[in-house]
Amino acid sequence: MHVCILRIFATLSALLLAASAFARVAEADADFATVQRVLQHPRCANCHIPGDAPLQFDDSRPHAQHVRRGDDGKGAPGLPCSTCHGQANLPASYGAHVPPGAPNWHLPPAAHRMVFIDAPAAQLCRTLKDSAQNGGKDLAALLEHVRSDALVLWGWNPGQGRAPVPVPHADFVDAFRRWTDAGAPCPG
């Protein structure tokens, strides 16, 4: 009789543990889905591209003026991004059709493209965590990057005529933190 009760307890415990683990995976997947929604918004993905021509605007059209990535991600030699993109968005007095600005305006370098656009969730997740691609960042450095980098923050304050990232920045950082706390599992 006692053995039977113990077996039932053991089975129930195993089921509860499995359910709990399943719930944790589901939570991490949901948090990564929030991260993915941000990273694949045009404010981020327009420059996280496989090719050498950055995109622009909410419809992700090719950047005007044949703009190129350049080996270092800072534009073609002789036409760096900083030719037109200053340290901050321009005042309203400049009108609606001027280039936006933020510190260190750039794309990923050509050797480490960090492609976000159109990447399936699992691939995006692996790219994000790959320190050989992401500038040598571990999870803590990635979290700090999305929390405080000025160019990342520009996505929530992109200036006239551009949609900001629709997920509030605090919600994004919270989701990112929970995902990294869970061990940064990749979906699938």
Binding site: Q65, H66, G78, T83, G86, L90, Y94, H97
Partner: protein
């Protein structure tokens, strides 16, 4: 605000957000830099700031206080800069309106890339529009300017 323009310090009485182009043309009287579009779409207003090309029409003057601003007027004292010599040699200019911007962009290019390919020239100069369509002569002249700079030992 204090601006360093062509090696001289200028005390400028202007709102912080006044475009550098306005300061150059209207307050300092350096009218070689041209107004084309006012939104960084044409390149006519290109100057150098700490040696890098910059569209002065979308640059608040206060953003470049303390940096070295160079305009077409001081690229050289006597039109001897390799880009200026190549431009004259190949008779690049037609109407001329865009050309101070073209020259400043070309000078930035050959400094960054002393031996540019056609593709390098196209990539660097694509932001400088020319309504007269002098693009082929511009490309040839950039090649020639790069040669002259190498001969001069500038690159």
């Amino acid at each position: 605000m204090k601006l360093d323009i062509n090696g001289r310090s200028h005390e400028i009485d202007a709102p912080d957000d006044m475009p550098l182009l306005w300061v150059l043309r209207d307050l300092v009287g350096l009218t070689g830099t041209k107004y084309g579009c006012g939104m960084a779409q044409c390149g006519a207003c290109t100057v150098h700031v700490d040696g890098q090309p910059m569209r002065s029409c979308v640059t608040p003057a206060s953003a470049v206080a303390g940096q070295k601003i160079t305009t077409i007027e001081s690229l050289s004292d006597d039109a001897s800069h390799p880009v200026q010599r190549a431009w004259i040699e190949l008779d690049v200019v037609q109407c001329g309106y865009c050309q101070s911007g073209q020259v400043m962009a070309a000078a930035a290019l050959i400094r960054a890339k002393p031996k540019p390919s056609d593709a390098d020239i196209d990539a660097a100069m694509a932001g400088n529009l020319c309504r007269c369509g002098t693009y082929q002569r511009i490309r040839a002249a950039v090649h020639r300017a790069a040669e002259l700079a190498r001969e001069d030992g500038h690159a």
